[in-house]
């Protein structure tokens, strides 16, 4: 069972590195943000799998923090856009 967890975690890591391409390419900032959102979720999944496979429950806390903080960054990103537009309107 632990090997399966590990293998899936590795597979997700591979997934993530392929997703880097979208960060690289763009074409807009929003696409990059989307990719890093996916990274956040993937990181949560990897951490949970590793927590089960190496029996270190502390990793679950890290996954929790990751899940929460990814949302904060996304909100920062979206607010940046609305604020910039607001300044233009003035």
């Amino acid at each position: 069972m632990h090997t399966l967890y590990f293998a899936v975690a590795l597979f997700l890591l591979l997934n993530l590195s392929i997703g880097m391409w979208r960060v690289f390419r763009g074409p807009t900032d929003i696409d990059r943000m989307l990719a890093s959102q996916l990274f956040g979720t993937t990181a949560v999944a990897i951490l949970l799998l590793l927590a089960a496979s190496t029996q270190t429950p502390a990793l679950r806390d890290i996954a929790l923090v990751f899940a929460l903080l990814a949302a904060v960054t996304a909100v920062a990103f979206v607010r940046r856009d609305t604020q910039a537009r607001h300044d233009h309107a003035d």
């Binding site: 880097m20 956040g40 806390d61 923090v65 990814a70 904060v72 960054t73 909100v75 940046r80 537009r85």
Partner: protein, 285 residues
């Protein structure tokens, strides 16, 4: 443009998983706070650049730039080769301080060795570091007040998300603080999660009521360092050594220091995000 490096930082956080305490701090700061800070700075920069025209600097020719780039790359390759050589020539196993740390752990009042190092064995480091944070905030404040931008309304979705997420973040911060005594967690991690809650609130257009802006805010900011110093003085008087905890008291004292340090770290980081000294009501004319 900088999302590449940003994604890299996130990836780094869990490459380091051999060290759960570090990964926790990096998850809170690398994934959340630094990104939010950079994005906010970029947004302010954009609004500045839209209002004024940038002066033209003499551009270097493409050829000179390329030459410079090759030169830098070559020098760095040499540097890196040297670094790699010294890393590889280190002995495969270093003794480290682990035996010492674990030997003294039962006297430290906590079960998590990292917390023991931070708050007990090398407490003065942490004391000074709390002051570094305060100093950074003071420098930012001395550069002027934060611009009171007219906020776009957050809209129902963001408003709901904020109402849900901010309490959860504060709860998680408290949990991390408590669990820090015997598992990865502690004041810095909890403080950064608390700061994330503050950043989220600031982003959603929430502001501190003005009557809390002046003295109450400052009191919270210095509470952590003040309690830390008070404990340090108390230990100095009772045992003759700075921050030398008696084993029976260590656990309680560490929790006390950490609680106030968490509050101060969280508020300091959130204030750093807001950037600039808060407005005083009379200043507004």
């Amino acid at each position: 443009m900088f999302f590449i490096a940003f994604g890299l930082l996130m990836a780094l956080a869990w490459v380091r998983l051999q060290a759960p305490d570090v990964a926790l701090a990096e998850a809170a700061i690398g994934a959340g706070l630094t990104g939010a800070l950079l994005l906010a700075a970029l947004s302010r920069l954009n609004s500045i650049e839209h209002t004024t025209a940038a002066p033209a600097y003499p551009q270097k020719s493409a050829r000179a730039l390329q030459l410079q780039s090759w030169l830098a790359m070559a020098l760095l390759l040499i540097l890196n080769a040297g670094l790699a050589y010294s890393i590889l020539s280190l002995p495969d196993t270093g003794a480290g301080l682990t035996p010492l740390v674990t030997m003294q752990l039962e006297h430290s009042g906590v079960k998590n060795p990292v917390t023991a190092v931070l708050l007990n064995y090398r407490g003065y480091d942490t004391l000074l570091e709390v002051f570094v944070l305060l100093l950074a905030l003071l420098s930012v404040w001395s550069m002027g007040t934060s611009q009171q931008q007219p906020e776009a309304s957050p809209g129902p979705v963001l408003d709901n998300l904020m109402r849900l997420l901010a309490p959860v973040l504060i709860l998680v911060a408290a949990y991390l603080l408590w669990v820090g005594a015997d598992a990865p967690g502690g004041a810095f991690q909890a403080g950064s999660v608390l700061a994330a809650a503050g950043v989220l609130l600031l982003l959603s257009g929430w502001r501190l009521p003005t009557r809390l802006l002046d003295r109450p805010l400052r009191i919270v900011l210095i509470a952590g360092p003040a309690v830390f110093i008070a404990t340090a003085l108390a230990t100095l008087l009772s045992s003759g050594r700075l921050l030398q905890f008696a084993p029976d008291w260590a656990g309680v004292l560490i929790l006390l220091i950490e609680t106030f340090a968490t509050l101060s770290i969280g508020v300091t980081l959130a204030a750093l995000f807001a950037g600039g000294r808060p407005h005083h009501p009379p200043d507004r004319s």
